[in-house]
Amino acid sequence: MTETVSDDAELDRLRKEAAELRDLVRALSAALVRATAALPLDAALALARSESAEGAAPFRLTEWHEGIEVTRGDVASEMALLWKRLPPRENA
């Protein structure tokens, strides 16, 4: 259901709420990266596999949240996570 808002005060409230939600998503995303990066390789792979409906794909889009929001991250933690999520070669 889409509600159209024209009242300025209401618009302002919704903008603030949207900004808060965006901040929350960023914080959750950063927390998720930190948590998963800290997992041992086997545990991270198991987690990725159990979540994945695309086990046969040559790539994983399970953590892909389509949108235009760009989140900041650290190369070290993001790359460590990426290597853990890499589809395994041995399952070919």
Binding site: L41, A56, A57, P58, F59, R60, L61, W64, H65, E66, G67, I68, E69, V70, T71, R72, G73, D74, V75, A76, E78, M79, A80, L82, W83, R85, L86, P87, R89, N91, A92
Partner: protein
């Protein structure tokens, strides 16, 4: 030849725990065959005097009262043998690197005009704290280069700087013989920069030797006394300003207003930041103004804070006396906003010509700059009548070099990396399909795609799904809409083995240049502005099937052409690189050497300064 003897002066004032850690780590990691340690006790009232007396390998100089940082260190310098170099080392520094002293000594004696050598300092949590210092005459507020960046081994080379902090300073005897010790016009703070500037006037360079990294706790003796710190700091700042204001102002030989974009994640903005930094170092006094905003093709206001001290100072200069020369660095349809008397438009584009409106505005300039011969020819072919100068961009070889620490693939797979904004120009569809078809899932090869998409009309996931990539084909990993701090990007490149840039056209291709500076072999389309710095000795040029109409959302491309990269050749190059590791690695090494030798931002700034000189 016997190395020059060095006296390591450690100034102590109470806080024995700090001094103990400093001396213990110093002893554990220093060859003292050609060095001696002099601890200057600056009137400590704790256990320091008694503990120092228990260390037979330490010569103790006792000051019966706290003489302050400057006079305390000068007492140590005076106690050093008069044929020895002197190393000033704060007692809140820890040494964890074997051979650090020899490496600093070698850097100090690498050339007769090197006088002072500093090193990289990191905080105990691993963040970089210092890779040199600079002071701008606008503020007289000393800044540490690299401060608080995540340490990925940036600033690893030996390079000239304006100053260093004297938490660790290797000073050659010749400098002390010529200019004496620290100036006692200062009690604390600014005495180090003052010393470096005095040494420069005496003919000695100051360098930072990036091969040495020490840990600095930054527990200065006034760090827990904010009022004392503030008083000492402001007193020294005033003294420093009185001594150096005119001389620091005089280092600027040219004035220019630079109208551009700084605080957005765009190619123009990122390159603008580097140009401004390099121009300042090259003696160009830049005053920055935002060129876009309401009434322009990009009507968004720019945030004031560049999150960079130097850039904020350059921004704050606007409103002062307006220089004669103004450069608009951005798209050609904002050239009309140039506010100079001598007006320069500096731009680039990814196709074989320039839009009519850009050419109209360019013909209103006194001269036009483009980074490549590719763009010069395109502009002239589109009707440009004004003088056009090729002014190439550059690369930051302190943050992009082969010794940057990456995050290697633990599985040992060969890693291709492609980084781009999703769209028609970059041929992501071709790269993904060709890679997936060229390799098998069992192959020890992976493609990492860093994708940015900020267009809400585009569903990248759906487009990737629609490619119908094979489950048994080459494996691909995605970094989707992740933005990394600029200073960490080198670590991304160093996590890969080969960079792929297979797009239809480039206005410069900064990521390609950064990857090459990091020592990666690369596959790059053999058409576009990047041919200015790419050739087959240092890269794998990707053949094209010809030029095709530049059909894309961007309105600037309409009516022009760009390349049609050859997918069969891309497949061949993918296989060739994997099968010829050594050859590819050799190209990567040569690429890094060539970027450092010919294509740094310093080179770019020198060309700008030379052009400004000619303009007069």
């Amino acid at each position: 030849m016997t190395p020059r003897r060095a006296a390591i002066v450690v100034l102590c004032w109470n806080r024995w725990e700090l001094t103990r850690r400093c001396l213990e780590t110093l002893k554990a990691h220093t060859d003292l065959a050609n060095a001696e340690v002099i601890a200057v006790d600056n009137g400590s009232t704790d256990e320091t005097p008694a503990r120092l007396a228990e260390l037979p390998w330490v010569r103790v100089v006792t000051n019966w009262e706290n003489l302050g940082y400057v006079r305390g260190n000068n007492a140590g310098i005076a106690a050093a043998p008069n044929d020895a170099d002197v190393v000033l080392l704060n007692n809140d520094v820890e040494v964890h690197q074997e051979g650090w002293l020899d490496t600093l000594r070698e850097a100090a004696h690498a050339a007769p005009d090197v006088g002072i050598v500093g090193c990289r300092l990191v905080l105990p949590d691993g963040r970089l704290l210092h890779a040199g210092t600079y002071v701008l005459p606008d503020t007289f507020w000393g800044q540490q280069i690299g401060a608080l960046e995540t340490d990925v081994n940036q600033y690893a080379r030996t390079r000239d700087v304006e100053g260093i902090v004297f938490a660790c300073a290797y000073v050659r005897r010749e400098v002390i013989a010529k200019i004496g010790g620290l100036s006692e016009k200062f009690r604390s703070y600014f005495e180090d920069t003052d010393f470096c500037l005095r040494a420069k006037e005496a003919g000695f360079r100051t360098v930072v030797c990036g091969a040495v990294t020490l840990v600095h706790h930054e527990h200065g003796s006034t760090s827990d006394q904010p009022k004392t710190f503030e008083t000492l700091f402001q007193e020294s700042r005033k003294t420093f300003r009185g001594l150096w204001e005119k001389k620091l102002e005089a280092r600027y030989r040219h004035d220019v207003t630079w109208q551009s974009i700084l605080n957005f994640p765009t190619g123009y903005a990122m390159s603008c930041r580097e140009i401004l930094r390099a121009c300042d170092a090259e003696g160009v006094r830049v005053s920055y103004e935002y060129v876009y905003g309401p009434g322009t093709p990009f009507p968004v206001r720019e945030e004031e804070n560049a999150r960079d001290y130097l850039l904020n100072v350059l921004t704050a200069r606007r409103g002062g006396r307006r220089p004669d020369v103004a450069v608009v660095y951005g798209q050609g349809d904002v050239f009309d906003r140039n506010k100079g008397r001598h007006r320069i438009g500096y731009t680039m584009l990814e196709v074989d010509g320039f839009p009519e409106e850009w050419v109209r505005q360019a013909n209103g300039m006194d001269e036009v700059w483009v980074p490549s011969a590719f763009n010069r020819d395109g502009f002239l072919g589109s009707g440009l009548k004004k003088p056009v100068h090729v002014m190439p961009l550059g690369v930051d070889v302190d943050h992009f070099h082969p010794a940057i620490r990456g995050v290697p693939n633990p599985g040992g797979d060969f890693v291709f990396l492609a980084s781009f904004e999703w769209g028609e120009r970059k041929r992501a569809d071709m790269i993904l399909k060709v890679f997936n078809q060229t390799f098998r899932r069992k192959d020890s090869v992976v493609l990492v795609c860093k994708i940015i998409n900020v267009n809400k009309a585009t569903n990248v996931r759906a487009q990737i799904d629609a490619l119908g990539l094979s489950a048994n084909g080459g494996r691909i990993a995605f970094l989707h809409n992740k933005e990394f701090p600029y200073h960490q990007l080198g670590a991304l490149y160093r996590s890969a083995d080969c960079y792929v840039s297979a797009g239809r056209g480039e206005g410069w291709d900064m990521p390609l240049m950064e990857a090459m500076a990091c020592g990666l072999p690369s596959i790059a389309t053999d058409w576009g502005a990047h041919q200015e710095f790419v050739h087959d000795g240092i890269s794998y040029p990707l053949g094209i099937r010809g030029l095709v109409p530049a059909d894309a959302r961007a309105p600037y491309y309409k009516g022009f052409r760009w390349a049609d990269p050859d997918p069969e050749h891309l497949a061949h190059l993918f296989r060739h690189v994997v099968e010829h590791h050594d050859e590819a690695a050799g190209k990567g090494r040569r690429a890094a050497a060539e970027m450092a030798a010919k294509w740094t931002w310093d080179h770019a700034a020198r060309r700008i300064a030379k052009r400004l000189e000619a303009i007069g």
